[in-house]
Structures are given as structure tokens and as C-alpha cells.
Amino acid sequence: MKSWKTLKNVSAAILAGALTVSMAACGNTADTTAGDTKSDGPVEIEIWSWDKNGQNVVDAFNKSQDEVKAKFVLQASNTAIQQNFRNAFKAESGLPDYVQGFAPLTTNVANGWAEDISESIKSILGDYTDAAKSNAQLDGTYYGFPTVGSGQFSLINTDVKAKYGVEDPKTWDEVLELGKKAQADGVKVFNLAGEDPSVLEALAQEAGANWFQIDGDQWKVNFLDKGTLKAADVIQQMIDGDMVSNQTYKDRPSLYSFFDSGNLAFMTTQYWSINGYKTNMPNTSGKWEPFEYPAIDDSGSKTPGIVSQVAFVPAGTDRTHQDAVMKYIHFTNTEEGIEAGRDPETKTTGVPQGRSADTIDIDKYIKANIPENFYSDDDKAFDVVKNATETVLGEFNLGPNYDAWFPELQDQWGKAVAKQQTVKQALENTQQFVADDLKSKGINYTIG
């Protein structure tokens, strides 16, 4: 038995050795990342992203200058970039110099993934708006690249509006009023997807809530502050009054066909959803009137936009490479860089949100993202989208354990939408979960 074991061990070792040698002989494994720091040649950096047009941007960047040579690695999806980054981080090898965002800022810091780039980023801070900058800092330190959420705005079906003789609802209370009227005819005022609590987050943000705040050496956790409870109340009234539909985003055919049936009065959305609506909602195209996000309190309309994906520089990247990354990112913030990222198939490009108006003429990108004959009024649509883009709120900290609590919030939210519990109970349960999870991880916190 013993000799068999030894034989096994030896053969395993031999095999492992043989493999190492043969693999090395095959070449192809040279790791060119984060290596070269020779002063003569260009600094080499590696960029990870799942934007398929990223290669074109990197090519254009490499052509535009000769100090930095960027290498682009296309990732299959958001899931892929996350898993591959985690693996490389654990293996401590093959890490890139820049990663497209896949998790919230605080998560990146909490896991030790993100490097403090407060110094190197100074050179490009002028490219961004204040809201974007606030989303890249944790307690005054830059751990990621400035970015903003896509500003939310409202759409109302003009047929429904005419039928009930109402104005655009300026506040959520007016949305509820319209909901009551419409409900009598089986028309729903809003859609709440059971898997997507982002409406709750958005309303809470608008109402001034902060679920996670740093308070010295501990986290101040509060899912039950005045703002969040106000948001919960609005949603609860809609659920209790049977004013909402529960179409899931997984079942697109159903979702589109319901939205297009004329039985949905109102929705909140962002600019990049509109192309899909335009394509799949032929009956109601041209009947959607855009206007600002409804106000939740007396302080007027605000534009929620929660950022849950922040790009960062992996921990351990030296200053030379950081500076090289900044040069690349600055290039992507220029008109030339944005043009290089234009999709060759659809000839479209996104709206460069969060960029300072001094460097970018954002108007033309917004115009290009207004499809013909979807909105009831294209000029108004332009104003609304532009306003949403420019006034979107920043700073909504998602805490050090977002990965753990977000699925829990989803569960709780699903039950609330299905009337198995109240929205407030859902929040209480989620807060309890957050507390237990932080405790088990040894992280300091206080509630409220």
C-alpha cells in the first residue's frame, strides 16, 4: 500500500513536471502584463473590458502617441470579467492595469482589489463632472474612475394621459392619483419587476437616503431612515392599490407586449433602453411623452442614478503604469476616443455621461440617441435626456458587502411585490441580514 502511494506521488510529480516543461516549450504563455518598466520603450499596459469596440479605441490610442502601448483583452461578459479578475487576483498573476467596472466602488476596496490612485488621477480630473468624481472616492480617496449612473427620467403614454385628462405627474403623489383612476379600467400606472429592486433604491436616493455611511472606524447602516421609508410608502401604496404590473425583464416578449398594449400608463427609464422599446413596441411608438423624474418630496425633482459598477486600477499597479493608464483614459474622454468606440455595425455610440462640458459636446451624442418616432416630442426628449444626464445624483454608498446583501434585497423585494410582506418589512429584513453579515465578517457597524 505504501509503495503504491509513493508510486502515485512520484508519477504525479513527474507528470506535473513534464507538463510544465512541455507547456513552456510550446511557448505562447509569455506574460507581457505589467512587466516592462524600461525607460526607453513605451510603457505597456493591459486593459480588460467587455466592450467589443474597446479594441478599436485601444488601436486608435496606440496610434495617437508612442509613450504608452496598450493591449486590449476582450472579456465575454460582466460575469466573465468578474470571475477572471477574481481568479487572477487569487493567483497573483496576470492582472491587468485597468479593469472595466463590474462591482461597486466600496466592494472593490473592501476586497482589496482597487489601488489608491488619488495622486495619478489628478492629471485627468478636469475631464469629469463633480457628481462623477464623487462616485469614484471613498472617504476622500480615489479608488476608481469617475462615472455616473444613467440619469432616470419619466415616460407617460399620451393616450392614457388624454383619456384621464391629466398633466404629466410632477410628483409621485400625482403618479399615485393617476394610478387610482387608471386602475378602475385595468390600466396599470407602473411596472415593478419582482427581481429588480432598483426602483426602491432610486426612490430612496431621490428622497435623500444613505444606506451606508462611514462614521470613523465603523459603518453607519440605515435602511429605515425617513427618506427610504417615504420611498417604501409610495411603492407600498402602488402595490396595495393594485396599480402595478409585475413584468419581468427576463421575459422580454411579455414585457414589450404589455408595455405596448396601451395598458401601461407610466414608466421611468434611461436613454439606453429606448432603442429596445422603439424596436419592440410598434403600436405605442410616438405616444411616449418624456418628462423629468417625479419629485418625492417638496424639494422638487431630482435625477436618481445609482452606480454599481466602477472601473479601477488593480492593487499593486506601480505609479508608472498608473500614469500610463491615465493617459489612456484621458484619450477615451476625448472626442477622438469616443469616435473610435463607435460601433461599426450600428454606427452608434453611447452618451459620454459624467464628462465635463468643457471637453465634450454632449448634445450631439444625446441627439444621436433619440430614435425617430418613439417619443411624442423629440425636442422635449432632448431636453429631458440632457437634463437627466447633467443633473444625475452621485454618492450612494452600497457598503462593503453589497455582493452579499443585494441578492437578499432581491429576495425580500420579490416577496413584497407579491404582497407576501410589506416593503418596510423587506427593508427591515435586509437591514438585519446586513448586520448579521457584517458581524460574521468582523466588520464594525452601527444601525441607524
Partner: protein, 314 residues
């Protein structure tokens, strides 16, 4: 090799196949004994048609879908053709999207699946044969190891595999797609189960008495009896390899090396997360990706002849 031995083997072979219409050449031997006769034949056919309908009907939707466009796919009846016949446009879009990368992915998948399935077939059929037919020391340990590998959730092994293979240079490299897949415990287990009944012990004993060595027995007799199991293993492995996307996602850095399923997953993920709808390209790509597997299946029909193996010594 001595002439006496080759004679012995020939003798063994002919001695084994003297029953009924089973001729001397096992590769063409065929029996219709299992087939139903008389009225039962029609019952069999009727039930088969019903089951085939259940199996195929859902795919009808896919066939209809790829002739439509993004505008009509969800707004017209999914079970019948409607609107402009858009199949050729979809095919054109599929093969030109992202600089026509789909053809590269398709080719990668074809050769990778073929090579790994052939490799896995050889390695696991040999191993399964050894485990079924020889009571050697350590056999129990190997079987236990195989069973353990079945019950550990595979998703948990991705991280350790990455750490280990990365260390030995198996990263972003074709070998990482080929080598680990050749040692699939499931295939070995399956080969063992098949070998137990497909290769009669009596036949091996007869060959031994005739003076054949163990390697000789395998190369002249046993492997022929395992053609159907081997073909089954090849096909199962091929389909599995064809549909895998996790492994290439983790181990292949350059998207030119990706497989078809990873590519389609990637398009689907991007299509729902961004403003550009890639549904038509994904569906068309998925349909096209099924064709090579179907062709392979049809081409391999000849290995599933009924009544090919021999158990008559029992």
C-alpha cells in the same frame, strides 16, 4: 508475433460468431432479433412519432424565429412565418458581425471538440476496459476517486483548477482546452459499465488459452467489441465539449480562441445589457452551431448497428 498465435485468434473469432446469421466479420454482423414483429411494429412506430414530436416541436420555434427580424420576432406569432423572410439577412449579419468572428469560433469548436473527444475516447475506453476486466491492485481506489469526483459540485473546481493550471503554464493556451478534457471520469465510468457486458470474460479466457497476451487480446478482439460504447462516449463528449463555455471563458484570454458557445453567451449578455439587440444574431448563431453536431450524429449512425456484440458464450 508467432503464426500459431494469429491462427489462434482467428480461430477464436470464427468460433465465436458461428451462431445464426452472425457472420465471421463482426464489423458487418447484424441482427434484427431485437426488432418488434407484427402489429407491435405499428405501436412502436406510433409511440416513437409521438415522442419525436415532443422532442422536436419546441425547436420549431427556433426555425421560425431565425427567418424573422428583431422587429417581428416578438410581435408576430412565433409558431409560423410572418413578415419579411429575413433568414439570409440574419445569416449575413451573423457571419459579418464583429469582423466575422463567428466562423473562427465555429472552426475552433469543431477541431477542439474533435480532438478532445477522440483523445478522451481512447484514454477512457482503455481505462474502462482495465477497470472492468482486470482485478488489479488499486482498482478500488480509482473507482472511489471517480465516484468522489462525481459528487463534488463542478463549479467549485474552477478556482483551484485555475490556480493549479496557471502555475504549470496551462493558461491562454490550446492545451488547457485539450488535456484536462481527456481524463473525464464520467466517460471512464461509462466505458467500464459497457465493457463489463460487451466483452465476455469467456472470450478473453479462450484467447488466453490460445496463447494471446493481454495487449494482443485488446488490439485484436476487445476493442472491436467496444465500438458502439466508444462511439457513444465520443458523441457524448463531443456534445459536452461543444456546449462548454465556462472553461474557455476562464482559461482563454484572446477572443479569437473562444468557442462558439462562449461567443454566443457573450453576445447574449451584451445584447441584454446594452442598447443594441443581438437576439437575432444569437438565435441564428445557435441554430448554425447545432448543424455540425447533427451531421456528426448522422455520420456516426453506422456505429449503432443493432446486435453487433457477442454474448452468446454466456
Amino acid at each position: 508475433m508467432s503464426t500459431t498465435m494469429s491462427n489462434a485468434v482467428t480461430k477464436t473469432k470464427s468460433g465465436l460468431f458461428h451462431h445464426g446469421k452472425r457472420g465471421g466479420d463482426i464489423e458487418t454482423a447484424e441482427s434484427t432479433a431485437g426488432q418488434a414483429k407484427g402489429a407491435a411494429k405499428y405501436t412502436v412506430l406510433a409511440v416513437l412519432i409521438f415522442l419525436a414530436f415532443y422532442a422536436v416541436a419546441p425547436l420549431w420555434w427556433l426555425i421560425v424565429a431565425i427567418t424573422k427580424s428583431t422587429q417581428t420576432i416578438y410581435t408576430t406569432n412565433g409558431l409560423w412565418f410572418a413578415g419579411k423572410f429575413n433568414l439570409f439577412q440574419n445569416l449575413h449579419d451573423l457571419f459579418t458581425y464583429q469582423d466575422g468572428i463567428y466562423s473562427t469560433w465555429l472552426w475552433n469548436t469543431i477541431w477542439l471538440s474533435s480532438v478532445t473527444s477522440a483523445g478522451a475516447m481512447v484514454v477512457t475506453v482503455a481505462a474502462g476496459y482495465a477497470l472492468a476486466k482486470y482485478k488489479f491492485f488499486g482498482r478500488g481506489a480509482i473507482m472511489t476517486g471517480i465516484i468522489i469526483s462525481f459528487i463534488i459540485p463542478g463549479s467549485l473546481l474552477t478556482v483551484p483548477s485555475f490556480l493549479l493550471f496557471n502555475k504549470v503554464g496551462l493558461y491562454d493556451n490550446w492545451w488547457v482546452m485539450i488535456l484536462p478534457a481527456m481524463f473525464t471520469p464520467f466517460d471512464t465510468y461509462l466505458a467500464k459499465v459497457y465493457a463489463e457486458s460487451a466483452v465476455p470474460d469467456e472470450l478473453m479466457e479462450a484467447a488466453r488459452i490460445d496463447g494471446a497476451g493481454e495487449y494482443r487480446i485488446f488490439t485484436t478482439i476487445s476493442w472491436r467489441l467496444m465500438v458502439t460504447p466508444a462511439a457513444t462516449i465520443f458523441l457524448l463528449h463531443f456534445v459536452q465539449s461543444w456546449n462548454s463555455f465556462m472553461w474557455p471563458m476562464i482559461f482563454l484570454k484572446d477572443y479569437h480562441k473562444w468557442t462558439v458557445m462562449l461567443g454566443l453567451q457573450s453576445w447574449l449578455a451584451r445584447g441584454t445589457d446594452s442598447q443594441y439587440d443581438l437576439t437575432m444574431i444569437v438565435l441564428t448563431g445557435a441554430f448554425i452551431s447545432m448543424i455540425p453536431v447533427i451531421i456528426l450524429m448522422i455520420a456516426m449512425q453506422r456505429y449503432w448497428k443493432s446486435g453487433m456484440t457477442v454474448g452468446s458464450l454466456k
